[in-house]
Each structure stands twice: as structure tokens, then as C-alpha cells.
């Protein structure tokens, strides 16, 4: 599964109303709240083997699926 698809799957497992085709801001629009973010980090650790640090939890990194994908790819390559 592509990184992007897996990210969408994780987000939908935390919030089934999430529609990746809709223009929403994942943090600002409350798609994931702080409880969900903790679970997202844990799921991403398992799915991609990356450690998302708490300092990375900023709206710039969690705005949309593309920004999360960039973050994960950056962490994978570091």
C-alpha cells in the first residue's frame, strides 16, 4: 500500500467521517484532535517505522494528507 493510502486509512480509522477529497485542514478543522494525534503517531510508528516527535505536531505538518506524507518521507529518509 502506498504511503498516502495508508495515511488515509489510519486517519479514517480514527475519524470515519474523513473524506480525503474534501479540502479540509486535519488539525484546524478538528479531523484529528490531540487524543487522535497520539494514536496516529503510534499507528505511523507501526506502519512506516518512523518516530514522529512531539515537536513535529504542528499545523504545517498535519494540515492535509500531503503534508503528513512529506513529514513521513522526510523522517524515513533521515
Amino acid at each position: 500500500m502506498e504511503v498516502k493510502e495508508k495515511i488515509i486509512e489510519i486517519i479514517q480509522s480514527l475519524n470515519e467521517d474523513f473524506d480525503p477529497d474534501e479540502e479540509t485542514d486535519i488539525i484546524e478543522d478538528g479531523i484529528l484532535d490531540s487524543f487522535d494525534i497520539v494514536n496516529f503517531i503510534i499507528e505511523a510508528d507501526e506502519a512506516f517505522g518512523v518516530k514522529i516527535g512531539v515537536e513535529e505536531i504542528v499545523p504545517e505538518n498535519f494540515g492535509n494528507v500531503e503534508s503528513i506524507q512529506k513529514l513521513i518521507e522526510r523522517l524515513k529518509n533521515s
Partner: protein, 264 residues
């Protein structure tokens, strides 16, 4: 117990424990850690099978835990900082948490339960009632006293005096009046596009007159007008009148619940 002296130490500790091998209740901590470290109120204990964070709240500590799933055990010694310890456990209704047993085993008692509710709001133009205004600074004492009397100090997002004064200064409290008299308040938190209702208290002599309802209506109208998209809140599951009030405004359950545990 050691103090968390900077954000780097916090990030380093979390990197070790934020994974599927550990259970945690750290949602709120991850939202608030920078502020708590800045205020020098965050401490930790690290052992082989757990990491515990303690938020100092003067009369008690809030506990944020990371416990190994393979060894769900906390040494009672680590939970006796000389003041009561409160632990919140947030979970989805359909997915009961596994850490309950570890907390009970460590001497915690179930204290109370809250449920999470929300409504979507949208831009609308409304006429705002004129007996409600942002609280003014000379009401901070009154509001603080009302909070002391009627909000649970361990679990009700209870504020210190200086925090309450800041909330008033930052326009995060609405006051309602009967004529010239202060009758009660509604406190809230503003997020980027949503608002959280943090608490409502009406003075006893003004109860039964619909003032809570007026405050909530004003709150919804005010933030609808301002273009916010959602309101959320936590309400005690035994607070029948509050549940009825939120039901009146069509708040829905999100499915999240929070059990509070306490160890005196």
C-alpha cells in the same frame, strides 16, 4: 521525581514510549506540554516498564502514564508524591481501555465519568442578547469563588486564581446579569476553528430562571457569528440538568468518554 527542564528532554522521553508496546493517557499532555514545562510544573519518573508524568496542580498532581502492555504494573511508591494523584482515562465507548486494572491495582479509585459532546455551527447573523457580556476584571473574584464552590477541583479543568484572572483579561468568560446583578458565567477555550465550553456556573439565587440556557444560546450565537465551525465540551454523566441542557441545543455524543481515577 525529576522536573522536565526543557522541551528536548520531553521529546526524547516520548520518542521511547509512544508506540504500540505501551498504553498511555497522554492526549492532553501532548497538547499542553510546552506550557507546563514553561511553568516548571511537569515532572517525571522513568522505570523499566513505565514512564509517568506528573503535572503539579498545587493541591494535587495530574498523572499521565505510559505503561508497558506486557507488564501492566505501577509501583505504589511512585504514586505517593504527598498529595492526591488524579488520572484521566479517555477512550472510545466501543473500545474500553486496558489500563484500568493497572490503576486500580496501584490504589486508584474510580472517581467520576464525563462524556464528550459536540455540535457543528455555521455562520449566521443573529441578534445577541444584551444581558450577557465578556466578564470584566472586577468580577474575577466572584467567578473564582463560584468555581471553587461548584466545580470539581480534581477533574473540572479547575483554574488557579491567577489563571482565572488571565481568562477574564483574555475575554474567555461570558457573564450574565439580572438587572445590575452578576448571575453567573460561562468559560470557554478558543481553538483554531472551534471552541470548547469549559464550564458554566449560575449563582444559587439565580437558578431556575433559564440563565444557563441563555448563556449557552449566546455562546453558540456569538461563535457562529464569528465564523467558528464547531463547539465541543465534556459533561459529567451524572449531571442530568446539564445533559438536558446540551440535548436541548442538539449536542451529540462524539463517542469519547473520560473516566477519572483518584488516589488520595
Amino acid at each position: 521525581m525529576k522536573q522536565i527542564v526543557n522541551n528536548e528532554l520531553f521529546s526524547k522521553l516520548l520518542a521511547k514510549y509512544l508506540n504500540k508496546e505501551y498504553i498511555n493517557n497522554a492526549g492532553r499532555l501532548i497538547r499542553d506540554y510546552k506550557f507546563l514545562i514553561g511553568e516548571k510544573r511537569l515532572y517525571y519518573i522513568e522505570k523499566d516498564n513505565y514512564l509517568l508524568f506528573f503535572e503539579y496542580r498545587k493541591d494535587f498532581y495530574n498523572l499521565y502514564y505510559f505503561i508497558s502492555k506486557l507488564n501492566l504494573f505501577i509501583d505504589t511508591e511512585d504514586l505517593n508524591p504527598g498529595k492526591p494523584v488524579v488520572a484521566d482515562e479517555v477512550y472510545r465507548e466501543d473500545n474500553l481501555s486496558v489500563s484500568t486494572d493497572a490503576l486500580l491495582e496501584a490504589g486508584f479509585k474510580k472517581y467520576l465519568t464525563r462524556i464528550h459532546m459536540f455540535i457543528k455551527i455555521g455562520v449566521k447573523d443573529v441578534q445577541l442578547s444584551d444581558n450577557i457580556r465578556f466578564a470584566c476584571e472586577d468580577e474575577a473574584d466572584l467567578i473564582f469563588e463560584l468555581q471553587n464552590k461548584y466545580i470539581d477541583k480534581y477533574t473540572g479543568n479547575f483554574l488557579f486564581k491567577e489563571e482565572m484572572v488571565n481568562e477574564v483579561k483574555n475575554n474567555l468568560i461570558f457573564s450574565i446579569y439580572e438587572g445590575m446583578n452578576f448571575a453567573g458565567y460561562l468559560r470557554f477555550r478558543i481553538n483554531s476553528k472551534s471552541v470548547s465550553l469549559e464550564g458554566i456556573v449560575i449563582e444559587p439565587e439565580f437558578r431556575g430562571k433559564g440563565y444557563s440556557k441563555e448563556l449557552v444560546k449566546y455562546f453558540i450565537d456569538y461563535f457562529s457569528k464569528e465564523g467558528y465551525n464547531k463547539i465541543d465540551l465534556w459533561v459529567r454523566d451524572d449531571n442530568v440538568s446539564a445533559l438536558r441542557l446540551y440535548d436541548f441545543f442538539n449536542f451529540e455524543k462524539t463517542g469519547y468518554k473520560c473516566d477519572n481515577y483518584i488516589k488520595f
